[in-house]
């Protein structure tokens, strides 16, 4: 246990930061804790932002997260950290304040990747979606009934935005440069199931084509997108859903190992410096932390999952509190997405999978569970409205069981082994 005079600072008043600070306290850390947040808001929950906030069922400012352990913390909200000085052990904020730390948790997360043409990205009607303020702005724009919404990018955020538009009865088109929706995460095989589902909702899906440029009406408001195939789509509201960039710029000059894909951590969760040595005063958690996952051969991953932010935040809190010996962080990755009333849940990492079985149900009926395998091992399972089976498969995946697992547990007979069919560039 740490000396009570030790000071802890959490940079990132996020889900990972909040759960990390709570975990420090639960692990017995008795010194002062300061939470620093770039946004003016207390930590809030993101999952509703791409769903019920957009449909207007929940207001953006109702998403403040429950605090589960009394923190007795100091809060610096609305002021970003701009520099980390490890020699003097201080975090410098945008307003010049320097906060000393003995233990530091980095949970600065990620931001939406901007449209590559900055001028076009600033046009009226062009949105990204990541933060609470983004969601409130997009909600206002949707409530103004645009003639058509164009979603650029068919990943999870893009799919959820499109489904929300259909709940509102708005015409919506998704343009995805890959072969189908969600192909990078799920492969073409299941991605095409998702695309069919969206078409059933009335979403226009245009895959295999890129948006080349955005055009305005002469007054600075977007009216149209030009596609690489020479066609154009008229839309007065564009949602750029091209993934996320990690918030690591403030670490410039800190001597730590980072880039736009995250800050490098060791297996325990301590951050690494430029020559690969851990700094045992500093841990990272959530979207910003890139760490070697023991279940996947130590492959370095940075995961943007809700459950991961909670679990890794809690892990980092215990680590920084000095509670018990360091154990590698090995939480099985898991996420959910809800689109058009269908709940998609995933455990494990599908990346690099070379085979796939439908282990339960039938994609044609809309309710099924698929297991992904790689090199003879089960590495991930994905359920569509079939969540109650998922924990059994999660257990098998965590235990590194062969592919396909649970051979005798169904009445389906031998599995047909399929290819997940991932796009080439992600192989």
């Amino acid at each position: 246990m740490r000396d009570t005079s030790e000071r802890a600072v959490v940079v990132g008043a996020s889900l990972a930061g909040l759960r990390g600070a709570e975990s420090l306290r639960r692990a017995g850390f008795a010194g002062p804790i300061t939470l620093v947040g770039a946004e003016a808001h207390a930590p809030y929950d993101r999952p509703p932002l791409s769903k019920h906030v957009l449909t207007g069922a929940v207001s953006a400012d109702a998403t403040t997260l429950p605090q589960l352990t009394p923190l007795d913390a100091a809060w610096r909200l609305g002021t970003a950290a701009t520099r980390l000085d490890r020699r003097n052990r201080v975090v410098v904020l945008a307003d010049g304040e320097a906060i000393a730390y003995d233990r530091l948790l980095i949970a600065t997360g990620a931001r939406a990747r901007a449209w590559p043409d900055a001028g076009e990205g600033r046009l009226g009607g062009v949105h990204t979606l990541r933060d609470r303020d983004d969601a409130a702005a997009l909600r206002r724009a949707l409530a103004a009934r645009p003639n058509r919404v164009l979603v650029i990018g068919g990943g999870f955020i893009g799919c959820e935005v499109a489904a929300s538009c259909r709940v509102l009865g708005l015409p919506v088109t998704v343009v995805e440069p890959g072969p189908t929706l969600l192909a990078r995460v799920l492969g073409r095989h299941l991605g095409s199931v998702v695309a069919a589902m969206h078409e059933g909702l009335g979403v226009v899906v245009r895959s295999g084509v890129k948006v080349e440029g955005l055009e305005d009406d002469g007054t600075g408001h977007v009216v149209r997108a030009r596609l690489a195939d020479g066609t154009a789509i008229a839309a007065s509201l564009i949602v750029v859903a091209l993934g996320a960039v990690r918030n690591t710029e403030w670490l410039e000059g800190s001597g730590l190992a980072f880039d736009s894909g995250g800050i490098d951590c060791d297996a325990d969760g301590y951050v690494l410096d430029e020559v690969g040595r851990p700094d045992t005063r500093i841990a990272a958690a959530g979207d910003v932390a890139r760490f070697p996952h023991p279940l996947y051969g130590g492959r370095r991953v940075a995961l943007e999952h809700w459950g991961h932010a909670v679990a890794q935040g809690e892990h980092a809190g215990r680590l920084l509190a000095g509670a018990g010996p360091g154990t590698p962080y090995a939480e099985l990755p898991a996420f959910w997405s809800s689109q058009g009333g269908v709940t998609i849940k995933s455990v494990g990492l599908t990346q690099g999978a070379d085979c796939l079985v439908i282990a339960r149900g039938d994609p044609k009926q809309g309710r099924f569970l698929a297991v992904y395998g790689r090199d003879g091992r089960s590495v991930a399972a994905v359920s569509f409205d079939c969540a109650r089976w998922l924990p059994a498969y999660a257990e098998q995946i965590s235990a590194g069981k062969p592919f396909p697992p649970i051979r005798d547990g169904t009445d389906r007979g031998p599995f047909a082994v399929l290819s997940p069919d991932f796009p080439e560039e992600d192989r």
């Binding site: 207390a42 929950d45 999952p47 509703p48 019920h52 449909t55 207007g56 069922a57 929940v58 207001s59 400012d61 109702a62 998403t63 403040t64 997260l65 429950p66 605090q67 589960l68 009394p70 923190l71 007795d72 913390a73 809060w75 259909r166 709940v167 009865g169 809700w306 459950g307 909670v310 898991a334 996420f335 959910w336 809800s338 058009g340 009333g341 269908v342 709940t343 849940k345 309710r367 409205d385 969540a387 109650r388």
Partner: protein, 96 residues
């Protein structure tokens, strides 16, 4: 298309008391559900039907900021969840 259900988060309704001359409205409760854990047993929907609704087969829609006046219902929902996926903060219990 039927219009989606909504939760009313107008500040003047937060913490609305049965007695309109009673104390000033307090902050809302804070609710979060771990939807990785949720398996759509829907016990919360029976315990607090105004705040938890199941959409489709297993998409749980919940009110993240119920009025403090509904604390008993929300607590009933939290306790009823077979997988303990519901987290609740009671106003005044923390320092934020």
């Amino acid at each position: 298309m039927s219009s989606p259900p909504t939760f009313d988060h107008r500040p003047e309704l937060a913490g609305r008391a049965a007695d309109p001359t009673g104390p000033l409205p307090s902050s809302p409760l804070r609710v979060s559900v771990d939807l990785n854990r949720c398996q759509a047993y829907a016990q919360c929907c029976y315990a607090a039907p105004d705040h938890f609704v199941l959409h489709g087969r297993e998409a749980l829609f919940y009110d993240p900021a119920p009025s403090a006046a509904d604390r008993v219902e929300i607590e009933r929902a939290r306790v009823a969840c077979p997988v303990q996926a519901i987290q609740v903060e009671v106003p005044g219990s923390n320092d934020r």
